[in-house]
């Protein structure tokens, strides 16, 4: 519970953060920036977990646990994604997402 | 472990053992041992059945019931009556003969035998299940390996044939699943819990509207694998492309699943639906009988001839089932058995002839009786069995069917019966044409003069299948009595 900051303001922040991430993911062609955008999306949800936990159920800690869990998963996922991207780069000498559409149909 | 579960366990163990083999010799030896054990068990089961039957007059004996999936009340529930026992014997014989016929298979033998054995597992499971759901599961287990067996080890347009066969059978099983679920969700009509158990559902009177709706689904679902017109077209292409042992197993055993399922599920559980729909399906089955026979006349490929002949013969099974009396039903079961042994024998012989002459086109061959007399003579005998010569199994089965059909006195049934009977003439035409063209006459090709004579494993395969054909034909009484006892509770539901 932070003085003078209501839950609405915080949720607005995370919403903005989420849509920035979504926009980045949908429009960027570089796989690395897309990865960054995914991090934004995840961070938005992490903050949401913490905020909602803090404001609505201050006497339990599940939201906080979840946020830590997500951070751990995000770290692992980033490691995996970067290794995939590096391999892709070796294969195609490019990190452009348009180059990766060979798996269609 | 109980006597029936072993029938599933032994093939699975055989398949596992096969994983550790190397090369053709080990693979075929392992399979042979496994299937010999299975065959011994099947023979033993007959005696055990007689012994048990003397003391126990329940519909199913050797029953066992284990909860499998409680939410939907699915059980692993097994049991046999005379009909399933006979079908198991048929399966064991045909599979064993198939192993002998594939004795020299050199392309990925290990994988071939594993797939074959898994297929057999599904068939055994199907015949012993009395729970609709497990029955369905085993049915699928039996159908899927077919795709691999034809697609990998087949010949000719095998991908097309495998795809067509699998898709049609899968489509049919989708319809069948709807039917089975329909039965399941009506199984609490008298109060009580929903159940998949056939024997329990048989105690329930499912509402007429539901029966009317779900009977054709269940029936067509099973009839497709029983090659009912017009759902038979997977069969000629499938048989033609399949390797010999698979054709044997498919025509000999797998197609029997249809008749068996119709008998055990569709008719037994939905008696009023049966009566309501019988006219329509009788017409279809009669078309199948006559049409299959007439279409066979025009074919030149040996396997196609046999496939259409199967359409005709199995049409007779469905026709007999729809006659709804004891004599015809006995005939239907006998015809299933007889056709199983006989067609398996036919396909085995075609495989042997193809292996030697490298063609399956009857007009390209000639005078084989002179160069490979043993195989040719057995081919003649199999042909005679197919056209219903007395002293062979086909005659006994057909006569039961005809006598049963003649117990209906109305014009519709009479006309249909006479049409079905007339097919025996057409059968004679196509069988004798092939025999005349292929086995008799002058030899068209110099190379044919030194064809290999029959080998020991081919002989074993032939005798395994020939003995039951003649055995049933010469002494049918004990068999028909055995079947009769088991038919009684089923026929009582319908009349």
């Amino acid at each position: 519970m932070i003085e003078n900051v209501s839950i609405y303001e915080l949720l607005t922040l995370t919403t903005i953060l989420f849509f920035i991430g979504l926009y980045g993911f949908l429009t960027r062609k570089n796989l690395l920036t897309m990865l960054l955008s995914i991090e934004l999306l995840l961070n938005a949800s992490v903050i949401n977990f913490v905020v909602i936990n803090k404001y609505l159920y201050p006497d339990v800690l599940q939201g906080v646990y979840f946020s830590i869990f997500i951070i751990a998963v995000a770290a692992a996922e980033t490691a995996l994604a970067i290794s995939i991207i590096i391999n892709l780069y070796r294969l195609k000498t490019s990190v452009d997402v348009a180059e990766t559409e060979t798996m269609k149909y | 472990m109980d006597i029936l579960t072993l029938f599933i366990v032994v093939p699975i163990l055989t398949a596992i053992a096969l994983l550790f083999t190397k090369g053709l010799k080990q693979a075929r030896l392992t399979t042979m041992i496994g299937m010999l054990i299975q065959f011994g068990m099947a023979i033993n089961l007959v005696f055990a059945y007689f012994k048990e039957r003397a003391a126990n007059d329940a519909i199913m004996v050797f029953t066992k019931d284990l909860m499998w999936f409680e939410t939907f009340n699915i059980h692993y529930s097994i049991g046999v009556d005379a009909i399933s026992v006979l079908m198991i014997v048929l399966t064991a014989t045909v599979v064993l003969a198939g192993v002998f016929i594939s004795w020299m298979l050199d392309e990925m033998p290990k994988e071939f035998f594993i797939t074959l054995v898994i297929l057999a597992t599904g068939v055994y499971g199907f015949f012993i299940s009395i729970d609709l759901f497990t029955l369905f599961v085993f049915y699928e287990i039996a159908v899927i390996p077919m795709y691999l067996l034809i697609g990998i080890w087949g010949s000719g347009p095998r991908e097309y044939a495998a795809m067509k066969l699998t898709l049609m059978l899968m489509g049919a099983s989708a319809v069948l699943l709807v039917g089975i679920l329909g039965i399941y969700f009506n199984s609490n009509a008298d109060g009580g819990a929903l159940t998949f158990n056939i024997l329990e559902i048989a105690q329930v009177s499912i509402p007429f509207e539901a029966q009317k709706l779900f009977f054709p689904m269940t029936f067509i679902g099973f009839a497709t694998i029983g090659a009912l017109f017009p759902f038979h077209t997977w069969s000629p292409d499938g048989h033609a492309s399949a390797p010999t042992a698979v054709s044997m197993l498919h025509a000999g055993v797998l197609m029997k699943l249809g008749g068996y399922g119709i008998f055990r599920v569709a008719m037994y559980l939905l008696p009023e639906g049966t009566n309501y729909w019988s006219t329509f399906f009788i017409v279809l089955s009669v078309i199948g009988v006559v049409y299959g026979a007439l279409a066979a006349v025009k074919q030149t490929d040996l396997k196609y001839i046999n496939a259409y002949s199967s359409v005709s013969h199995l049409g007779m099974v469905i026709f007999a089932l729809l006659m709804l009396n004891k004599t015809a039903w006995t005939g239907a079961i006998l015809q299933s058995l007889s056709h199983g042994f006989m067609t398996a024998l036919f396909f085995a012989l075609i495989g042997m002839i193809y292996g030697r002459t490298h063609t399956r086109m009857a007009p390209q061959m000639g005078g084989l009786l002179k160069v490979i007399p043993f195989i040719s003579m057995i081919y003649v005998i199999a042909g005679l069995a197919s056209l219903g010569l007395p002293g062979m199994s086909g005659f006994v089965a057909e006569m039961n069917i005809f006598a049963g059909a003649f117990q209906h006195t109305d014009t519709f049934h009479r006309v249909m019966s006479i049409l079905v009977i007339s097919s025996i003439v057409v059968t004679a035409v196509y069988i004798l044409r092939v025999v005349g063209v292929m086995l008799m006459g002058p030899i068209p090709n110099e190379d044919y003069k030194n064809l290999k004579t029959v080998t020991w494993f081919e002989r074993v395969g032939i005798y395994l299948l020939l003995i039951p054909v003649i055995g049933i034909g010469v002494a049918p009484l004990w068999l028909s009595n055995m079947i009769n006892d088991s038919i009684l509770p089923f026929i009582q539901r319908l009349i």
């Binding site: 559409e101 269609k104 | 997977w234 007439l294 007395p390 039961n400 003649f406 007339s422 004679a428 009484l477």
Partner: protein, 647 residues
């Protein structure tokens, strides 16, 4: 009296068949021939012994021959009432048939040892002969309709195997196939008849069906179909089966072609035994035929027999292949037997036709087998079937000549031969009951004499021919059967048949039987028949004894009629048209096409539709991750809107 030993009459031939069949390539031909002959001798001995026991010792009780069962076992049950037994039924006609079959079969076996010498399939041939003997024996002793049908089919298949014995000859293969399919087609009628009879008559058993006071005969009128009793229909359908086996119109087309088989086979199967199975069937069911609907079915039998007899005689006049002449002559004589049955009644003297038919069956078996075996002997010598290649053979083959002459005289009804006695009884029976048929019969008798002597003079007299290899008399193994059968062709005329084989199993008064005190000789009837026969012989003598140009002139005078008869009245062509043009081309081919294109096309069409549909929608799977993400996010957005504003 215990007749249980008669089971060996069936067991021995089938055991021989299995023995020779399983070890066909391990038994030396010489041995297999002897095995066959020995086995058949035992069978024949047993049959004679049975006949002796039955006719002289135990058969007759209170002046009526009884029916015995040598063996009875349940084979299969259709319902509680309809059951199929396998058994051995012994009554006058079955015992008579046992004697016929075993005698002719034994003769054929002995003869084949010489005739088939050096053939590759020697052992196989004897195996098939044994199979045939087994099947035929099973047929004649059948206790019920189904047993008779079972063995009926088995004789059909052994006939198929034996006609197609020279399987490398395409004509033999075609003939075998034709024989089987034509008879099978007729058997379809037989089978439906049996099933109808089983359903409406309530039984398959001869004893129950044929009991004149039994329910089947008493209640024949209970159900009718198209103006006739169903039982009558059943009988007519069964007669269709009989007509198929016995080569009556219109199912006769297989018989001439069946002559492609080895000659002993023609003699055994296609002259003496199997082809009379139809006659035997009608005789077996005679009480039913007679009592049901006042013998309506019997009239059909009579007329079919009479017309077939006349028809075949006409064709026989013109044929040039000696075996075909004999084949049509067989058909004609079987027509005789059929019409004799057809005009017969049941009781006492009224049942004369029945007795005459059976007697003629018996004597015909002897002299026709002799004719065939004689023809075989001739063919063996000159290596041709055609009359044009023969002539003047009497000098080279004296035994064949004499025996053939005896047989020809016998079939022509020459006085004091067996054929004379039996044929005369048929004529009397026809005269008493149906004048039209009587005149046909008489006319055919004249024709028969003519074509038989045309054959005889053509082979043994006629033109002097120079042969490349001088023909010589056949070996003893072939001439002994000829001599024996020649003896039988005369001797069987003096058997007191009218005491033994009658419709009601009681003795009746025959007309001509020199050694039978029952006989009342009607020389007026006999005289007419003898005149007809002698006239035929005389014309043949005049035409063919020396080469003349009369035959050519006469055939030219008849012109078209001759051509029609020579081409067998184009029956084969009609059948060929129906099968090739109509069934194969107009029915079977469209069916195959329909299956390939329409039924299968529908299934393929379903598959193809799915494929093309998937082609249309697969563009959405672009492989670009951002497209998917956009669709996902958009979907969520829409769902959220729905959740917010709709609910």
């Amino acid at each position: 009296m215990n007749f249980s030993y008669t089971i060996f009459i069936l067991i021995i031939p089938i055991a021989t068949f299995l023995l020779l069949g399983f070890f066909y390539n391990r038994i030396k031909p010489a041995v297999s021939g002897w095995i066959g002959v020995t086995a058949l001798s035992v069978v024949a001995g047993l049959s004679y012994y049975t006949a002796y026991q039955y006719f002289f010792n135990v058969g007759k009780i209170d002046g009526k021959f009884q029916t015995f069962f040598g063996f009875q076992a349940n084979w299969m049950n259709f319902t509680e009432n309809l059951r199929i037994d396998m058994g051995i039924l012994l009554d006058p006609i079955s015992i008579m048939m046992l004697v016929v079959v075993s005698t002719i079969s034994l003769m054929a076996h002995i003869y084949s040892r010489g005739y088939m010498k050096g053939d590759r399939g020697y052992t196989k041939f004897f195996a098939f002969l044994s199979l045939f003997t087994f099947a035929m024996m099973g047929l004649v002793v059948a206790t019920n309709l189904f047993q008779i049908y079972i063995f009926w089919e088995l004789v059909g298949v052994s006939s198929y195997l034996l006609i197609g014995f020279y399987y490398e000859k395409p004509s033999a293969v075609a003939a075998a196939k034709k024989a089987f399919i034509v008879t099978r087609f007729a058997d379809l009628g037989f089978l439906i008849g049996i099933l109808l009879m089983g359903y409406y008559g309530g039984s398959f058993d001869f004893m129950e069906l044929n009991n004149p006071e039994g329910p089947a005969i008493m209640n024949w009128a209970s159900t009718s179909f198209m103006g006739l009793s169903v039982i009558t229909w059943a009988l007519i359908l069964m007669f269709v089966g009989g007509a198929g086996k016995s080569a009556m119109l219109p199912f006769h087309i297989w018989l001439p072609d069946a002559m492609e088989g080895p000659t002993p086979v023609s003699a055994l199967i296609h002259a003496a035994t199997m082809v009379v199975a139809g006659v035997y069937l009608v005789a077996r069911m005679f009480p039913m035929f007679h009592f049901v609907e006042d013998g309506f079915a019997l009239h059909v039998v009579a007329w079919v027999g009479a017309i077939s007899s006349l028809f075949a005689a006409f064709i026989a006049l013109t044929q040039k292949d000696i075996k075909r002449v004999l084949a049509f002559s067989t058909m004609s004589q079987i027509g005789y037997m059929m019409l004799a049955l057809g005009v017969s009644k049941y009781d006492g003297h009224e049942g004369l036709g029945y007795m005459a038919s059976m007697w003629h069956l018996f004597t015909h078996a002897m002299f026709k087998a002799l004719l065939f075996l004689g023809a075989g002997s001739v063919i063996h010598a000159v290596h041709s079937n055609y009359l044009k290649d023969m002539g003047g053979l009497r000098k080279y083959m004296p035994i064949t000549n004499i025996t053939f002459l005896i047989a020809a005289l016998s079939i022509s009804g020459f006085p004091l031969t067996a054929g004379f006695f039996s044929k005369d009884e048929i004529l009397v029976a026809a005269f008493e009951h149906n004048k039209a048929i009587y005149f046909i019969t008489l006319f055919v008798a004249g024709l028969t004499a003519f074509y038989m002597f045309r054959l005889y003079f053509g082979i043994f007299w006629g033109k002097k021919k120079e042969y490349e290899h001088t023909p010589h008399e056949s070996p003893w193994s072939m001439t002994i059967p000829l001599l024996f059968l020649a003896f039988m062709s005369i001797a069987t005329g003096y058997l007191p048949f009218s005491e033994w084989v009658t419709a009601d199993h009681k003795a009746l008064h025959g007309h001509i039987g020199l050694f039978s005190n029952l006989g009342v000789i009607h020389w007026d009837m006999a005289g007419i028949a003898i005149t007809a026969g002698l006239l035929g012989i005389a014309i043949a003598w005049f035409f063919y004894k020396k080469p003349t140009d009369y035959p050519a002139k006469v055939s030219a005078a008849f012109g078209r009629l001759y051509k029609w008869a020579f081409n067998k009245f184009y029956f084969d062509e009609v059948y060929l048209f129906v099968t090739k043009q109509i069934i194969f081309k107009r029915i079977s081919t469209p069916f195959a096409w329909f299956d390939k294109k329409v039924v299968d096309g529908t299934m393929d069409g379903i598959g193809n539709t799915t494929v093309s549909l998937s082609k249309v929608i697969k563009g959405t799977q672009s492989g670009r991750i951002q497209d998917y993400a956009f669709a996902f996010a958009g979907g969520v957005f829409v769902l959220v809107l729905i959740v917010i504003y709709m609910i």
